[in-house]
């Protein structure tokens, strides 16, 4: 007795969702999440290891940034958002 299968079952190229696009998108999301976790784990490890004048990087990250850095960061943030979601406006 072999495993009963539906005519649509394809063990090599599974399609669980409504369209192959959806299956591919979930795969991409999992890949991104995994890589994000890798980056977080790496960063956390770095923060544990790095000290400046005896203060751990983990603490330094929480300290106040000077105002010029803050405005540079704000510019970068806006650019970042536009790079990723700017395409919406072009629809």
């Amino acid at each position: 007795m072999t495993t009963p299968m539906l005519p649509t079952d394809d063990p090599r190229h599974p399609a669980f969702l409504d369209s192959p696009v959806q299956d591919a998108l979930v795969n991409i999301c999992i890949e991104l999440a995994a890589e994000l976790w890798v980056t977080r784990s790496r960063l956390r490890r770095l923060e544990q290891l790095v000290r400046v004048d005896g203060v751990a990087a983990t603490e330094l990250i929480e300290s106040e940034e000077d105002p010029s850095e803050q405005s540079k960061r704000a510019e970068e943030r806006d650019l970042f958002a536009r790079r990723i979601f700017g395409g919406i406006a072009a629809l």
């Binding site: 495993t3 669980f16 995994a34 890798v38 784990s41 790496r42 544990q48």
Partner: protein, 355 residues
Amino acid sequence: MTTSSSPATKSAYAACHDDAAYVDFMVGLRRLALGEIKNAAVAASEAELARRGEPIRDVLDLRRLLDPVPVIALRNRVVRSVQEKTWRRVADTVHGRASELLAEIAEAERRGPGSVHCDPQLTYPEYYTVEDIHLQPGSYYGDPLAGAITEYGGNVFYAGLNLDGQVKQASVGHVPLPADGVVTRVLDLACSIGQSTTAFKQRFPDARVTGIDIAAPMVRYAHRRAIKLGVDVEFRQESAAALSFPDAAFDLVYCNILFHEVPRDVAERVVTEAHRVLRPGGVFVVVDFANRPAHGPMDWGDYHRNVDCIYNGEPFASAFVYSDFTTLLESVFPVVDPDHHLDPGGIRLMRVCTR
């Protein structure tokens, strides 16, 4: 679910931090899939079945009913993706350490404690090569580093709880002794990387413990692993369906999760061989899935089994689950305890046969 640890640095298995962290993420996602997501899928399946009213007796009708349910469809997708991505990264990182690992395996082969013996004449049977079991690339035999890949990837499969073989060790802890209490010779059938085999030696330090598996990369890696643990066990590459040992040579024969991976005729030969190599009063202990009624009212368990067989490289598990395996054991052994112990997840059942 019991907590598993999440290593921040590279583990003993990965080539670098990033590989270890990637695989560790898959442990986390699999824990979610086997926990909350599974619970939601089971609840959805119960709701669908209740809405339908009439019981379902054909697994394909069940598939047609449950496949489109969003949480179930997405659960199937996630489980498959985790499996594929885990094996890919595990194989990559193990291959990244290939020269070091292969040298260790070769070096271990020449020394003890314990020993390993491979059979260059052995050809793998046809059933064994039809599919990559559990989607593992190259299955148990096709990659010289299959042992390391099985050990590291298998831990993800066990949701992070088996890195040092703890799941296998727990099962071995439930194995009952023969009535006379004598355990001097133990045989572990289809021992894979020897996690149960070493657990037997740790439980019965005075016994002579042998593990056999049909795959050369498994027994080679098993020996290297046993040496690292300092455990004195013997490994041999041979088929459980045609053992090299004389009659009545063992007090205890153990077989953990082989039977659902082989066709029925092979299972029959393995049971007969286990009986032959046991001494009178010896026990044959089998851990594997419970059987289900073939045409009983079906539920999530039947759905999961079907999807898992098709999408997780289990060509024979469906036939096994809907078979009368206990009857097979009873046809060979005079005394069979069909449900000696059920593991906490309710998946693996221990059956005990006395010769």
